[in-house]
């Protein structure tokens, strides 16, 4: 894939990529922009290469997920050195929007990260469980387990039950 073709693909998937970066960064907007930017740098400089084994979307989302993990680790290390480390939970659902969407965000914030990511990829990005597994570097079996558990738990939280 030539650099020009890569750029066209990145532009095509830019908005979806940003939505995924937000999901990977606990809905912290500034962090999501930084992660997306760093992911573009990696791809354009050839540090992350698209080998064509999967779709470009799966590849891009994988790079975004890895970059978000790296940023999280770096930030945790910095925090440890400076003695300011605290666990970073989801950003509070302060965006304006319908109550249902805010309830969804609040419910998602109660799920483990992996489960949240699988649900995001399947329901929000329209991926199959297999594509979600490739993006998250998981086996299809464990992605399916995460998916089932997350769905049951989310339905429980949204339905007012204890999951």
């Amino acid at each position: 894939m030539t650099p020009a073709e890569t750029e066209v693909e990145l532009e095509r998937l830019h908005e979806a990529g940003f939505a995924w970066a937000l999901a990977c960064c606990g809905r912290r907007r500034e962090e999501a922009e930084d992660v997306l930017q760093a992911s573009y740098v990696k791809i354009l400089e050839g540090k992350a290469r698209f080998a064509g084994y999967s779709s470009f979307k799966t590849f891009l989302f994988g790079v975004i997920r890895r970059t978000a993990s790296e940023e999280r680790r770096k930030s945790a290390l910095r925090g440890l050195f400076l003695g300011t480390w605290t666990r970073r939970d989801e950003a509070p659902a302060s965006e304006a929007g319908p109550a249902e969407r805010l309830a969804l965000q609040a419910a998602l914030s109660r799920l483990p990260r992996r489960q949240r990511q699988v649900l995001d990829l399947v329901f929000s990005m329209g991926m199959t469980v297999q594509e979600a597994a490739e993006t998250l570097a998981l086996s299809v079996g464990s992605a399916r387990v995460h998916y089932d558990r997350a769905k049951r738990r989310l339905a429980g939280i949204l339905g007012g039950d204890r999951a």
């Binding site: 750029e7 990145l10 532009e11 830019h14 908005e15 979806a16 940003f18 939505a19 937000l22 999901a23 907007r29 922009e33 997306l36 930017q37 760093a38 573009y40 740098v41 354009l44 400089e45 965006e95 929007g97 319908p98 249902e100 969407r101 969804l104 965000q105 649900l119 995001d120 329901f123 929000s124 990005m125 769905k151 989310l154 339905a155 949204l158 339905g159």
Partner: protein, 120 residues
Amino acid sequence: MSGKDADQKLARLFKEQRRADEASAPPFRELLARARARSAPQRRQIRWPALAAAAIAIVAAVLLLRPPPPEPSRAVAAATLAAWKAPTDVFLQTPGVELLDRLPVLVSSVPQATLAVSHR
């Protein structure tokens, strides 16, 4: 609510969320320009640590791969070993030690003539 209904509700909520997220995405060109601007100085910064690491690696390789100092030849080593005397040898020199260096001369107790007669 059946499983299918729950799935449909989740799908609808996620889609709404995604639409809202996508609508708030920063412009692609702007982000790309920032990414390019960020990557250029990084390349220059990376050069110094890389050079320092390479220099350290070269020095370490030279120190590790340097041939060991030549060993003395076997003949020289043998001569040195033979000439060596223990500093405590002096304690082994006791009075009368010279008696142990020669054989004692024993005097015959029976005269030779007597022996010759008895044989006959």
